[in-house]
Symmetry: C2
Subunit: 273 residues, 2 copies
């Protein structure tokens, strides 16, 4: 199995780095003239996939908006994942899971094992229980050539109380965010051209003293409508091995499939120029 | 709507504090002579619910073990939740979700809105994005009389690197775990007899300097087979307003419905004596 980092590196070279978030919240369904129900969810999500999945390297469905509708919403998510992959996009499922032991293993089985109905190329994970609590997910990712994006340094205003906290016993008084990047640097040390273990770092954090050279990809939410510019991405993430600027609203509000497609193709061109 | 804290207080008085985790991992399904598939999951989970939900105050299904089977596993989870509540147990769904803004709201809708197929009495949440990132979930819980259990001080060996990290600007150099307890103390300040906003604190942490008097319930995993004793629970959590010692393996390995029922009734008697 080709590692996720290698597949992502090739996909970015082929299609560009833009990651499109599929975030079917109630307001968007309403803007599209759809009901806030499973039928509306399905129409919305599959139309977006059909319009953009053949043109972008990474599609990022937000699981929460499917979980809202219980098992029937998850059945739609299964189709979103399968159809996105069939169209040649890598699927980064945004689930922010994290637990310990056999429960972490169960999440790995759910989202990274190719035999699962929700099998994705990569997922987001949350390290509040310590980075090592994610070990079963890391090992499963290695086995199946999948990737992870670990929450590290997000741009929401409430994040610093945890992510900037100082870790005992680290030289220089490192932060929680810095420690997560250190763990990722270790996991990616031998990888070439790109590691499979990424970090979530907000595109609108302004600036950071953290070392983003960890040989893995950065998922950078907040690009576009939420304020992050191409200049921000270049300035903030110059040291990173690869960056996926992630945008959702900018694309989804366009509604018309041709306009959505043109927008993602043009944005990828701008990001690569 | 009666607040979750009040409902939990009454349920503990009526049935005792034991929380039974429903953790149908592959090994347990095999021990029960069941297949590692949706049919095995359903048989296992519904037999456990039928045996113990009429006798315990809180049933805690672990979502990961249902997510493993995609939408069909989630359909089983919907039945587990509904049948547990119909039997008079409160359902604490262990999902450890956490996100920001409209995504946090979507998780709240998924698990705390009574119209959702997965509506539960309470859920576990993860504060890596900062406690305030959970605000939409807190507000939705208040609206619907639901509860939350926020990860704070877990007993897994990897937890301290995040949970013991020192928060800048807090007098005395408070920890991340302590800050989470402070946030909970604020949310529960006016509640009587018990707040609705709880913490997850491992039954096997040994000792702690954190102040557990935050007027909310403590979920204490690790009780029983994982090593936590009744003496540990009394010593560690003497200051807490209410404690839910949580056990899974001890109960589930018994298999026979009558034996499971007798075990949970006897354990509740011991915990109350």
């Amino acid at each position: 199995m080709i590692p996720f980092g290698s597949r992502l590196h090739a996909a970015i070279a082929d299609r560009g780095p833009l990651c499109v978030g599929i975030d079917p919240h109630a307001g968007l369904l309403s803007d599209w003239g759809l009901g806030d129900d499973v039928a509306g969810l399905e129409t919305f999500a599959l139309e977006v996939v059909e319009a953009i999945a053949p043109y972008v390297s990474v599609v990022k469905p937000q699981s929460a908006f499917f979980e809202r509708f219980g098992s029937r919403g998850i059945a739609v998510l299964e189709r979103v994942i399968a159809q996105s992959r069939a169209a040649g996009a890598l699927v980064l499922l945004d689930v922010k899971r994290g637990d310990i032991g056999s429960t972490s293993q169960a999440y790995a089985d759910a989202y990274l094992d190719p035999t699962s109905p929700l099998a994705s190329d990569a997922i987001t994970v949350s390290p509040f229980l310590g980075f090592g609590s994610l070990d079963p997910i890391v090992e499963t990712a290695r086995t199946h050539g999948a990737g992870l994006f670990v929450l590290a340094l997000t741009s929401n205003k409430e994040g610093p109380e945890v992510q900037h906290a100082r870790v005992d016993g680290v030289a220089g008084g490192g932060t929680v965010a810095g420690l997560m990047l250190d763990h990722l640097r270790r996991l990616n040390a031998e990888a070439s051209p790109l590691g499979s273990f990424g970090a979530v770092v907000g595109a609108t954090i302004g600036s950071t003293d953290e070392d983003l050279a960890f040989n893995g990809p950065v998922l950078a939410p907040g690009f576009g409508a939420q304020g992050g510019t191409i200049a921000d991405v270049r300035r903030l993430f110059g040291a990173a091995a690869a960056v996926l600027p992630s945008s959702s609203r900018d694309v989804l509000r366009l509604q018309d499939p041709d306009v959505m497609r043109d927008f993602v193709v043009r944005t990828n061109d701008e990001l690569r120029s």
